[in-house]
Structures are given as C-alpha cells and as structure tokens.
C-alpha cells in the first residue's frame, strides 16, 4: 500500500495506522464503527518503509551500526592502548590513562608477534579510523562531484565537454596506482592527507552520475510541464531536480564508502598509507604478513574479517537503499 491507512473513530479517538489489507480487515471486524482514511506518503517516507522491510537492508544496517558503535565507543573502554609497548619486566601492558584493566594479559584476538600488541585493540581502533576516513573522504568527494557534475550538466557546451574529458581521462587510469603514488609522495603518513587524496580521486563517478541526471531532466517532459504551469527555475531545482538526483547519489555514495575503506586498507597494507602509529585495518595487516611464517594467523585474520563485515554491511545497505529509493519499485 502506498498509503497509510488510518482507522479510527472520528475526531475524538486516536488513530490507528495499519499497514496491510489483512490488518485492516482484522481491525474493522473488531471495531466496525471506525472510519477509514487514506493518507498518502511522500517519496522519502515510502522509501523508508520499503527499506525497513528489505531483509538485506536490515542485516546490512545491523552490521554497519554495530561496527560504527564498536569504532566510536570501543576505543574508550578498551583496557589497552594500541600504541603501548609492554615493559619487558612488567609482563603486562603500560596503561595509558585508560580505565583499570579488567583482564591484564588477556588478549581476545591474540597478540601480535614482536612488539606484542593486543590485536583486539588494534582492530577496534582500526575500525574507527577506517570508518572515519571512508565517510569523510566520500562526503568530500560527493560534494565535489555533485558540484562538477551539476555545473557540467547545467551549463553544457564547452565547459561540459572539457570537464567530461577530464573525468574520462581520470577514469581511464587505474586510480589505485595514482593514489599509491600520491599517498607515498605527499601523504607523509598522516590520515588527514591520505583522506584528502582519496577524496581527490573519488569524485568522478558522482560527477558523471549527477551530470547525466541533470541532462535527462533538462529534456524531461515533466520539467517543461512544471515550467508551463509557472513554476520558477529555482523551485524546480529544489523541489523536483534535487529529490530525483539525490537517490542515485545516496546509493553511489554509500557504495563509495566501502570502496574507500578497502582502498585505504590496501594502500596502508602496502606501507604507503597511514603511519602504523595510528592503526588502521590496513596497516595492521601489513605487519601481519611477516608473522604468517611464524604461524601467527590471527593477526592477519581479524582485521581483514573486520573489513569484510564493514563492507558487507555497507553493500547490503546500499542494495537496500537502491531498491527502496527506486521510484518504480512496487511495495
């Protein structure tokens, strides 16, 4: 049902909202004196309802939110400081201002070899940073891409051709190669710089998307219809163009976050990304590579598994978003 069905006695009674014809039947058999009203939902409310019912979207959201919580709250309650190096004589970790340790020398995910750091701590901190970089880089890239795509689509002409040639050229190069180079040369291991580099190379897809949406809308009949009725251009952009453009942008952006997280992990894994002093899921893995020979598989396993869980969550959510926001979808 595209509408909410409100059933209730008029005026004085609270309205009850039902969501399916069967539920309405039931309600009316109990309360035959109820009035039935149909309420139309707007596009976003509809999308939210579809999202809520989408099995994959729910699973994805649960995964993602869990990881989000782990990443934000986790580092605050962990007993170990990820950067701490054990005092050889003490037998446990130097406590860097954290709450009192509950389980000294207990390592849920095991220890690393060599510098003896707690893998669980590393993973939690890594989740935090990876998510942060992913979200920030994508946000900036989306803003830039929307601007570029919007300008290109709206103004057309030489500006459009030029911008699209640049986009094409950039998309022809294996971006990860360039990211590697820039990250190594300019990154200096700082996560802010690395994040900016990802933003720099991530806006092209969105730009193309926004441009095509705007182009298709310029030609669209319903835009002409709106103009013919006297709707001003600004209002058209705000009330008509934007909602239509937002849907694919949202879907694309959410999948982009996953892409950035994986790419950042890869770049850090190769050693050209973020300095290991600040753990991300990638640079934790790079240390793990050598430890494999010594039989330590958990160091390599858990950070990677964390990446998979995060990305899976995002992908599922993105799929759910795509289905939910599709205006042609039936309930």
């Amino acid at each position: 049902m595209d509408e909410l069905t409100r059933a209730g006695r008029s005026a004085s009674q609270d309205a009850v909202i039902v969501e399916s014809p069967a539920a309405l039947e039931e309600l009316l058999t109990e309360h035959p004196d109820y009035d039935v009203q149909l309420e139309s939902l707007n596009q976003w409310q509809l999308a939210w309802r579809r999202f809520r019912k989408h099995r994959m979207a729910i699973i994805g959201s649960v995964l993602f939110v869990t990881m989000l919580l782990l990443g934000t709250i986790g580092p605050l309650i962990l007993p170990y400081d990820p950067n701490s190096v054990p005092d050889p004589g003490a037998g446990n970790y130097v406590n860097a201002g954290r709450p009192p340790m509950l389980f000294p020398s207990f390592h849920l995910f095991g220890e690393t070899v060599g510098l003896q750091r707690d893998v669980f701590t590393l993973v939690i901190n890594g989740i935090r940073l990876s998510l942060l970089i992913g979200v920030l880089a994508t946000t900036i890239a989306t803003l830039v891409g929307t601007l570029v795509g919007g300008v290109a689509g709206y103004f057309g002409g030489f500006l459009d051709t030029f911008l699209m040639r640049v986009v094409d050229a950039m998309l022809s190069l294996p971006l990860l190669f360039l990211i590697l180079v820039f990250s190594r040369f300019l990154g200096a291991g700082s996560w802010v710089t690395v994040m900016m580099i990802f933003a720099l190379f991530g806006w092209m897809g969105i730009a193309r998307l926004v441009r095509s949406v705007i182009l298709s809308m310029r030609e669209a009949d319903w835009v002409d219809a709106a103009r013919a009725v006297g709707v001003s251009d600004v209002r058209i952009i705000y009330r008509h163009l934007m909602p239509n453009a937002l849907s694919p942008i949202i879907v694309s952006a959410s999948l982009s976050v996953a892409g950035v997280i994986i790419s950042e992990a890869f770049v850090s894994f190769l050693g050209y990304g973020i300095d290991p002093a600040t753990p991300t899921l990638g640079n934790v893995l790079s240390g793990a590579q050598d430890a494999l020979q010594q039989g330590n598989w958990w160091w390599a396993f858990f950070p990677g598994a964390a990446i998979v869980v995060i990305v899976m969550g995002i992908n599922f959510m993105g799929d759910g978003l795509q289905d939910a926001l599709d205006p042609r979808a039936k309930i």
Binding site: M170, L171, S172, L175, L178, V311
Partner: protein
C-alpha cells in the same frame, strides 16, 4: 573513436603531473645517489630538460620536443623531421611516443627494458585471470538468472554478496594461510620454482628458461600452473562476484522483455529463448561493464603480485613507489592507460558490431 586521442592526451598530462607533485623533483633523488657521476647527472638534467620550464619538460618527456635543439626548432628532430614521428622515418628517439621512458633512478638502466621484461609475466597472470573471470562471471550469472529463486541461485547470490565485500589482498593472505601453510598444496609465491635450475639468469623469458622449457615442457607447465592457481583466484574472485551479480541482473531484465514473450509465443524452445534471444541482448551492457572494469584488473595485480611475489609489472610498480623511481612509475602508468583506453575502445567496437542499433560515425 577519435575521442580517445584527447583522452590519452589528458591522461599523459595527469601522469606528468605526478612528476610535478614530487617534492624536490626527480633530480633530487638522482643527486643523492652516490653512484651517479656529475656528468651523468648533468646529462640527466639536460635530457629531461629539468632546467627548462615545465611545458618544455613535458614536451620532451612526451617525445614531441628534441632535447638537442632549442627554441622553435625543438619540435624538429636531428634529421629535420617533426620530432614526434617514429625514429625510422626520421623523427626523434626520445620520449614516450618512441617508447623511451628514461632510465630507472635506482638501477640506471632503461625503464623500457625492465618493463618489457616484466610485461609477459603479468600478461600470463592477467591473461589467465581474464579468461577465468569472463567464463565464471558469465556462467554463474546466467545460471542464477535462469534458475531464479532456486537453491543454486540463492547460493550463487550469497557467494557473490560475500565475495564482493572482500579486499583482494586479504583474500590472498587468507588463501596463503589455508592452502600454503595449513594444507601445503601450493607454493608460497614466485613464478617458478628456483629448484628447477639454479642458474642466476634463469628467469621467465631468458634463453635458459626456454631451453629448459624445450627439454622439460611438462615440468615447467606444471610448475607454472601450480604457481598460478592462488594468484589467479585472488585476482578474479572479487571481480567475478561483482560481475556475476551484474550478469544475473542483466539476464533477468532481458528475460522480462516483451520480445522474449513473443519468442515463446512463437513456440521457440526455452533453451533457445535463453541463449539466442535473451543472452544476445543481455550481453550488451555486460560487455560495456567489463570494459570499464579492466583498470581494476591492474590494481588487483599490484596486490596479488606483491603478496605472491610474482615478478611482474604490478610488483615493479610497488617497488618503484617505494624507491621514488619516477621514470618507472610514469612509464607503467602510460602503458596501463594506453591499454585501458584501448580495451574500452575494443569494447565499444564489439558493442557496435553486436548491437545493430548502433551505427558508426
């Protein structure tokens, strides 16, 4: 089709921008290398025009400008022809257009030689991967689409969703953990087993390798094969997962079209409906999509070659980044860009051949 040329041009500009991005510039690195004599350094600076404005540098790097001449005459080669023509016609011999990528900053030897040596190795890896990627993605996507809602479809879809979320390099690590360390089925890395022959010049493509190959072809092939399995799986798994989903969606769309209903109404057997009517149409967006995914095969190659110590171009790139070896980096980037643009062009052409609605020109 001609649109590829400005794209290539802009690509080369972007690649060249990397040089500008380098702190201190290439000569700084060179200057720190104690093995380099002052004359060699001077020759290097002269060759790349590092004492000239950047557009001259770019022009010389590209190969359209002759380093031996100045002013407007720089566009002409030593023989008086336009410098960008091939050398055997009378053009110049420097720069990208003449396949001259300079000398490696670390080894001092020509980059084009080193790349040339490594291209076949990556080609074997990427080539096998490409074939397997195509076959697997097509087959699984089609089976999932035709047997929609069945258990096979669910299994394939679940596998795709999970596989799509894996970072390629971590998959490689996992495979090593399971198949190399725990099970010992495959070798840990490299492209050949050095035990086969201990000669130092025994590398893939060398004379010794080929003579050894002629004597013991099966042993070499088996050896190569066992070294290929894990890297290829790593390289394609994620891409297959993504493309399989796409093929499935594309097939489902095609099967829903009106003309499929018409075909059935004509009495066409179901198998023919799927393979002849639906598949032809479903392939069109798939072809384009795979063309667009080609760059990812290269980026995947870096991870795979690094983890599995495969001595190809990807690993070479990784090492060059570490050593700030600009000529190598730029050389590899140019080759990759040409390859990707070429592959996209090919995809466009194939599309135009297959879809009668597209006409050329």
């Amino acid at each position: 089709m001609l649109g590829a040329i400005p794209t290539l041009f802009i690509c080369s500009l972007l690649i060249y921008a990397i040089l500008l991005a380098a702190p201190g510039g290439p000569s700084a690195r060179f200057a720190q290398n104690p093995k380099v004599t002052p004359e060699a350094r001077q020759a290097f600076i002269h060759r790349w025009g590092l004492d000239q404005p950047f557009y001259v540098q770019y022009c010389r790097w590209l190969g359209a400008c002759n380093p031996n001449r100045d002013g407007a005459a720089t566009f002409l080669s030593d023989d008086g022809w336009p410098n960008l023509l091939p050398g055997f016609i009378g053009g110049g011999d420097n720069g990208v257009l003449h396949l001259d990528f300079g000398d490696s900053v670390t080894t001092g030897s020509p980059v084009s030689d080193a790349i040339g040596q490594r291209i076949p190795r990556t080609a074997i890896l990427a080539g096998s991967a490409l074939v397997i990627w195509l076959i697997l993605a097509l087959v699984t996507g089609m089976v999932a689409a035709v047997k929609r809602y069945s258990k096979i479809d669910t299994a394939i879809t679940v596998f795709n969703y999970i596989g799509y979320s894996f970072p390629t390099f971590w998959l490689g690590l996992l495979l090593i953990i399971i198949f190399v360390m725990q099970l010992g089925w495959f070798p840990a890395g490299g492209m050949w087993d050095v035990r086969l022959d201990d000669k130092p010049s025994f590398y893939f493509g060398s004379a010794e390798y080929w003579s050894f190959f002629q004597q013991h072809p099966l042993a070499i092939l088996k050896d190569l094969g066992s070294h290929l399995v894990l890297p290829v799986i790593t390289l394609v798994a994620v891409s297959v997962a993504g493309d399989s989903r796409f093929v499935r969606a594309s097939m489902i769309d095609a099967l829903r079209e009106d003309y499929v209903r018409t075909a059935r109404a004509k009495g066409v057997p179901e198998r023919r409906v799927i393979y002849r009517h639906a598949l032809r149409n479903a392939m069109l967006p798939v072809v384009t999509n795979m063309g667009l995914e080609l760059p990812f095969l290269f980026t995947g190659a870096i991870a795979t070659e690094t983890i599995f110590s495969w001595p190809g171009m990807g690993r070479y790139f990784y090492e060059a980044v570490g050593a700030y070896d600009y000529p190598v980096l730029m050389g590899i980037l140019v080759i990759t860009a040409v390859f990707v643009i070429g592959a996209n062009l090919l995809a466009d052409i194939i599309y135009a051949i297959v879809d009668p609605r597209i006409s050329y020109g």
